[in-house]
């Protein structure tokens, strides 16, 4: 049985963690050689920045890389494969130097580490690589110019972000169109050229993020559009380790998470318990009793954002969208 003092301590920790603990992976900590990029992370197999680890594979026999590379290349005018490490924005987000380049046809992985582990990723900035941008804009020897020969083909280049949680790949995803030519009015067709924010809170708590690329330009040998994109500024909603421990073995579960109007709290305790929900500022937004089994909680009136739910002294984050 938790005492009132214990509860207050837990609450204070939670409020602190929700309101103040966020880390941004900027990749500025990664040293980049004169070539302007690093595509070999060494034996660690990851580029570590903030509370994220970006997976990298480098084949020393073939000098081939896959996954993530870190770059500070500013040449955003040269098309083609030789400029594969460049972002079309010509710099990192907010004029920073470094950014990450993703290349893979099997999925790019980012693992959440430290205080971000198992938590919410607030968002990420995304843009096209220079290679892919010009390939879609002008075509190349292998991939088509978006819009096709008559400019009316409903082409698209889509980034789909999923999560791994407890070893399971989610079916939920966040999609972002890096290029979209599906509009009836061709004047609305676009290819992303600037750093653009993608909100990842709808994914809820994650252990790892996985990025997939889809294109409308596919052939027998797979996707023709170069499988590159760039990211910067991954912001994770971190928590102190004590909170992370609180989440482990919590005797209740929340579904769906993220939720829109109604969520269900599955309480596994035999005795009724007190349920409290706090927003990011520490304000109590909901309180009710839960009994063993499924307990509906109406959340339609809450603002979108990250919340923390306490039941019998154990906590869990949830996202309202």
């Amino acid at each position: 049985m938790y005492t009132k003092t214990t509860f207050l301590i837990i609450f204070a920790v939670l409020v602190f963690s929700v309101t103040n603990a966020q880390t941004t992976s900027t990749f500025e900590n990664i040293s980049i050689p004169a070539a302007g990029f690093v595509d070999d992370s060494g034996i660690s197999g990851v580029f570590q920045s903030g509370n994220t680890a970006l997976h990298n594979y480098y084949d020393n026999q073939f000098f081939y890389w896959d996954g993530w590379a870190i770059s500070n290349i500013t040449d955003n005018t040269t098309p083609g494969f030789n400029n594969q490490y460049s972002a079309i924005a010509g710099k990192g987000f907010n004029n920073s130097a470094n950014y990450a380049v993703g290349y893979s046809f099997a999925g790019n992985y980012i693992r959440l580490d430290g205080a971000a582990k198992g938590g919410v990723v607030n968002g990420i900035y995304v843009t096209n690589s220079t290679y892919t941008y010009y390939s879609m804009k002008d075509g190349d020897a292998f991939a088509k110019k978006f819009g096709g020969e008559n400019g009316n083909d409903p082409d698209y280049f889509k980034l789909v972000i999923k999560k791994f949680k407890n070893g399971q790949l989610s079916t939920d995803s966040v999609a972002f169109y890096l290029a979209d030519y599906r509009f009836a009015n061709n004047a609305n067709d676009y290819i992303i050229k600037d750093w653009t924010y993608v909100d990842l809170k709808p994914l809820g708590n994650v252990d790892s993020l996985v990025f997939y690329l889809n294109s409308s330009d596919n052939g027998t040998f797979g996707m023709n559009t170069p499988a590159y994109f760039c990211i910067d500024q991954i912001t994770t909603a971190d928590m102190v380790s004590s909170v992370a421990n609180l989440e482990q073995d919590a005797p209740f579960s929340i579904s769906p998470n993220p939720a829109t109007d109604l969520l269900n709290v599955q309480w596994n305790g035999t005795a009724p318990a007190d349920l409290q929900v706090f927003d990011a500022t520490g304000r109590l937004v909901a309180r009710q009793q839960v009994a063993q089994g499924s307990n509906p909680v109406y959340c339609g009136a809450w603002n979108d954002g990250v919340y923390y739910m306490l039941v019998a002294g154990r906590g869990m984050r949830l996202v309202k969208q």
Binding site: Y57, D59, Q61, F62, F63, Y64, D66, T78, P79, G80, F81, N82, N83, S104, F105, A106, K137, D138, G139, D140, A141, K144, K145, G148, E149, N150, D217, N218, G219, T220, F221, G222, N224
Partner: protein, 611 residues
Amino acid sequence: MSVVLLLFVAFRLSAQQDTAHLLPSVTVSALSLRTTMPGERTERFDSTQLSTAQHQSLADLLSSQSGVYIKSYGLGSLATSSIRGGSASQTAILWNGLPIQSPMNGLSDLSLLPAIIADEVTMHYGSSGAQWGSGAVGGVLSIQNKMAQKGMGLRYNASTGSFGLQSHQAKMQWSNGRLSVVSKLFTSKAANDFSYISNPDLPAKKQTNAAFEQRGFLQEFYWVPSAKSQISVHVWRQFNHREIPPTTTQNKSLAQQTDHALRILLQAHRIYKKHVLQAKSAVFGETIDYQDEQIGVRALSGFKTYLLELEDKWQFHRGWQAQFGAQQTWYQASADGYNDTLQEVRSAVFGNLRYERNQFKIQLTARQEWQDGRAVPFMPGLGASYSIFKDLEVHAKLSRHYRLPTLNDRYWRPGGNLGLLPESGWGIEGGFRGLGYSLTAFHRLIDNWILWSVAEGQVYWSANNITAVRSRGVEQRFTYGKSWKSKHLRVITGYDWVRSTNEIALTRPKLAAGEQLIYTPVHRAFMSMDMGWKTTALLWTAQYTSSTKGINEGLPAILIHNARMSYGFQQRRWGGHCFFQVDNIFDVSYRVIERRPMPGRGYRLGAGLRI
């Protein structure tokens, strides 16, 4: 009893059958002693057909007047062949009996082989790995040169045409029967800026960055020290520069490619009482300089091939003859995709036993080859033909075939796979020919088909033996020729039905089991009609290709007509001709390779002189 010595193959168009020649004097082609196998279907392009194609490439000639499917990226651009549903690297290209394909990718670009080089061109259809080695899976394209006849001759042709086309060819030859010199020079270029329709609702577009220029020479020296021996040297030098046009879904291209080729062949033969011994030594070198200023790419690659071949043909009993030989090949190649300059050694021994009696011929052929010391599966072949009566012959052939993995397949970074096995399998065919008509049915299975694919657990494309391909089909030809005093008519028609299917379902590349291979038409037909009256002639050709599947989309069926009107004249010691040619008469908008437009109607005007 006098010994009848059979020597050297001569291929005859009309009967399309092999015929062993007596050796009346030393009129020797540079072809191998290996005869065309009984039961094999061949098509020969004689001097008449070649003379009308002097200004063209072999790709143009084969495309318009044979059953060979030419995958052309456009005028002056890359052109490769597909025979009986095989891939481009499954056609062996022989120059005077020696393979000239690139060891790097197994290909030879037919657009870079000008027709003027050849004195005779023969297409051998079907598997003949036991005869000609690696790559002779779908068929063999054989380019031959011949010693000039006694006397002196000079020919010069020039033509100009649509899209900035200009070409010149000259051939000079001299022979006193003991010495012979043949020189051939050629040059051609075109802006290739044709207009094409990409969409009926949009105005026509003009092709850009598509110019090409080609020039070169073939120099031959023949020396006949005695009636029983001959030595010859052949030097073929060629330069080719071409711009690589954008696809129809690409705004612009600045890519260009420069190719240099130097091929030197030295050969000698001597006739003994019951033997003919032939030796060949050759050096073939090619370089490719690919540049694309737009994307900051320059890729240099090249290879050298050193070849030694020794053959002997032995007439050991009446009706029986044996042939055996050995070939040693050294390859050197370099490319950005290799770790270093590569070397590969191939060794082969081969032979055949042939029996001919009356109207019956049978030949057993075998070959054993080693690639870098690793043995390739033993390659046997058996062919037979029988003339039931004068104008009806039945024939059949069974042969094993193989294609060795190329240097790119083995060493390219990433994805080269040193563990690759050769593609191999069996082919069987049979048919009959008579009264100008021939029908051949064939079936071929190729195991260990090499495809670049993504293997389980890999993150890059690599070469793998991952599937099998089954090809089967029926080929029909009808030839009719007649002359009436000052008139002549010759018609050659053909229809091929070919199913060439992938046998194992794959995910990447995405190929279903039973699916027709990409760029492999099921139906193909052609017609060539040559009509003449006195010195005026009209040649009309038409080619039909059924719809094909490309990498990204399907391509509709194509029917293209071409016509050529020529007028010739002959004075006492000199003569000449002029011609007017219309290509793609009905201005059909078409593509052979997706996103690669072909020219519409084009005209060509030319003239020639001969002394």
